[in-house]
């Protein structure tokens, strides 16, 4: 089936010779009749979803024949994100609602979301935002799906997972801004001070914050590059960040790849040391995202746009290293991160104790770049597929475009006098290997250790 064909058509085959639907004499005539523009993208998303739902053609055809075309279309579109947010981020208008709630997890990744409150970025947009601390990723997800939160701090892969219905009902989500890049680290228990080669890590118990996190994918990537199969050679556990340090102290785990202040806190309390920063795996990787349900954007485009403007401004402010000390002091109190100021400061300024007795200086330890490159989403999708979280074919570009709202972010950034990057995708290097977002399948093929067939 070609990308833009109607996936609800039972007669259509995914693989074909000649015209795929049989209605046109030649493939050229078929191509000419295809939808264009937004409709084309919508169709592409539908096709991806149908492929994900029915990996086997026989099942899809049987389903369509038995329930009929329109029923199938209605049933599938009801819970699949086939409609677009389109031009939702309108010009600056009066917010539909000014009292908003934004959920966050107390880690430094949430810096822009948190600091925008005490430092007045929300207020400047005429919003009265409550930033609400939340106990874990699943709770953030559920409260955002429940509409208790208007927007939330989520791990960058979570909106992709939610949109595709992995681990929850499929609800179309959008990532109009990334919060931070880098700013994570692999932290190991002090007893492993002399065991720094991952090849010797067989049997380790390692913690990650959530299954759908770049922490998970980066750690798996790192281990696999060193010949360790993350599914069979080590045990990976999903542990909420606050519990990680306690577990490390109790010797329940050997280490973790975790968001910062957690890593620095382990060093501060003398239970662990920093093995490598995540930027040594992929310099410039996205970690957390500012996420909104596409429904919310549609319902109150002006309020979400104002919210996003505040986040973009805060992120721009946080990206300047000279402001970092001030930010650390603003977000460390009990109402926000509830951490000693020096811990937050070490993370944000990049002058930190590594737990091995030396002071390191790396001003790029964490960076703030709000631009949601579609290629970030595509990379994440390749890893989701690599480790078997997604089965079947994935239309990488379409899902990425739908969730990571690079174009919307660029428009808002321009309106606010910030400079967005020219392109919405870019290539980058992960552990010496270049990722080309145009060729995700080939990238996936190139890995030796993977679950995807």
């Amino acid at each position: 089936m070609a990308l833009f064909d109607n996936p609800f058509d039972a007669r259509r085959r995914f693989a074909r010779g000649g015209c795929s639907c049989g209605a046109h004499e030649t493939q050229a005539a078929h191509e000419a009749a295809r939808p264009t523009g937004d409709a084309a993208i919508e169709r592409a998303v539908e096709a991806t979803m149908m492929r994900a739902l029915f990996p086997h053609q026989a099942e899809r055809r049987a389903f369509l024949r038995s329930v009929g075309l329109s029923t199938a279309a209605a049933a599938v579109s009801q819970f699949l994100p086939t409609k677009f947010v389109a031009e939702a981020f309108a010009e600056a208008g009066k917010p539909e609602k000014t009292d908003l709630k934004v959920g966050f997890i107390p880690i430094t990744c949430a810096t822009p979301i948190i600091m925008a409150k005490p430092m007045g970025f929300y207020e400047k947009q005429g919003l009265n935002v409550d930033v609400v601390k939340t106990a874990g990723w699943a709770v953030v997800r559920d409260k955002t799906l429940n509409k208790e939160y208007d927007a939330a701090h989520m791990l960058a892969p979570m909106p992709l997972a939610i949109t595709m219905g992995l681990g929850s009902n499929p609800v179309p989500f959008a990532v109009p801004a990334i919060e931070n890049v880098n700013g994570q680290a692999i932290c190991l228990a002090n007893k492993h001070k002399d065991n720094r080669d991952p090849k010797n890590w067989k049997g380790f118990k390692l913690a990650i914050p959530f299954d759908y996190s770049n922490h998970n994918y980066l750690l798996r990537y790192y281990l696999a590059e060193h010949g360790i199969d993350p599914d069979t050679d080590v045990q990976l556990r999903s542990v909420p960040p606050p519990e990680m340090v306690a577990n490390l102290r109790a010797d329940n785990i050997d280490g973790f790849l975790a968001p910062d202040n957690v890593v620095q806190r382990a060093v501060y309390d003398g239970v662990g040391f920093i093995h490598i920063l995540s930027k040594e795996i992929w310099d410039g990787h996205p970690c957390c995202s500012f996420s909104v349900a596409q429904d919310t954007i549609r319902e109150m485009p002006n309020a979400t746009a104002a919210l996003l403007r505040a986040i973009l401004q805060a992120t721009a402010y946080a990206s300047k290293t000279e402001n970092r000390k001030e930010i650390a002091a603003a977000i460390a109190p009990a109402n926000y991160l509830n951490q000693p100021v020096t811990v937050v400061e070490q993370v944000l300024t990049g002058t930190y104790a590594d737990g091995l007795g030396s002071v390191k200086k790396d001003p790029k330890r964490v960076a703030f770049d709000p631009f949601p490159y579609e290629s970030f989403a595509i990379w994440t999708l390749t890893q989701m597929k690599r480790w078997g979280q997604i089965k079947g074919d994935v239309d990488y570009a379409a899902v990425a475009k739908q969730v990571y709202r690079a174009t919307d972010a660029a428009r808002l950034m321009k309106q606010d006098g910030l400079t967005p990057p020219e392109a919405t995708t870019k290539t980058f290097v992960v552990m010496g290997k270049t990722f080309d977002p145009a060729k995700p399948e080939e990238y996936l093929e190139s890995f030796k250790i993977k679950r995807a067939s």
């Binding site: 559920d142 306690a246 501060y268 003398g270 007795g357």
Partner: protein, 279 residues
């Protein structure tokens, strides 16, 4: 004799307390060996790492923290930082709502079931299956269906505290002495009057026992539920301090939770004594 016994018990209690506090202080006062650090590095590290001070606070630290909380229990510095008094008020409010609902449902329903041996037998398996379910197991279901976290917390308290009351009410009502019922029948008392003047007083002690078990459960549940849904309440306070790895505050809240639980239990114990009758 009675007086000297309680006096001796009191003295023993105090001695135990002193012993525990002393042992605690001794256990945490030792400092571990530390490596020599250069001052620039040491400035970035916590006390546990630099001075070898135990991560576990001593009774003096906890005492100071309790005093700090008691001095200003009702402050409000934004949605994520409120005084311990405010947090307790939220928790008690939630327990009151969930538990109140449970009382309203369990006692009338228990009455009806208890008066009919058939219903009593028929519903027993359901009650037995639902009774031992942990509050945390209900939570995802509640969040998913109710779609509101504070209502979910109240629902979870309700669903966990309803069973002991229900079972005890059924048991108490079914166990009303045959002679009393026969007397009522002989005097041709109307069913409603029989329920209120004969069965209710007879079953009251058992019902109150169920209520007392339930309030204990409700108070256990609220802490777990609030740790999960977050926002406000003493459970959230514990979680937030755990997040900060502040064992001092966690111990403080353990004491406070225990204290409030005891007060709630004692209130119902009083009520129970009021309705108990000598056979």
């Amino acid at each position: 004799m009675q007086r000297t016994l309680s006096l001796r018990a009191g003295i023993l209690s105090l001695a135990l307390l002193a012993l525990i506090l002393l042992g605690w202080q001794v256990a945490v006062s030792g400092s571990a060996r530390t490596e020599v650090m250069d001052p620039e590095y040491a400035a970035l590290m916590g006390q546990t790492a630099t001075t070898g001070k135990s991560a576990m606070p001593g009774p003096l630290d906890v005492g100071a923290t309790i005093w700090k909380h008691l001095k200003d229990p009702f402050y409000d510095r934004g949605p994520n930082d409120k005084g311990i008094g405010v947090q307790l008020a939220y928790s008690i409010g939630r327990v009151a709502l969930g538990y109140g609902l449970a009382v309203l449902v369990a006692i009338p329903v228990g009455f009806l079931i208890g008066m009919s041996p058939l219903m009593s037998r028929a519903l027993d398996p359901y009650i037995q299956i639902l009774k031992p379910v942990s509050p945390l197991a209900w939570m995802p279901l509640a969040l998913y269906t109710i779609k509101d976290s504070s209502l979910s917390a109240i629902f979870v308290i309700f669903i966990c505290s309803v069973w002991p009351m229900l079972i005890n009410t059924v048991f108490g009502v079914a166990g009303t002495r045959k002679e009393w019922l026969n007397v009522a029948r002989t005097l041709e008392v109307s069913p409603i009057r029989r329920a209120f003047t004969v069965i209710l007083p007879a079953a009251a002690p058992t019902i109150l026992t169920g209520m007392r078990i339930s309030i204990g459960i409700a108070w256990l549940v609220i802490v777990a539920a609030e740790m999960l849904v977050g926002g406000t309440g003493i459970g959230y306070f514990v979680w937030n301090e755990w997040n900060n790895l502040s064992i001092t505050n966690v111990i403080t809240s353990i004491l406070v939770i225990g204290l409030v639980g005891m007060v709630l239990d004692q209130l119902l114990a009083r009520a129970q004594r009021l309705v108990t009758f000598p056979e």
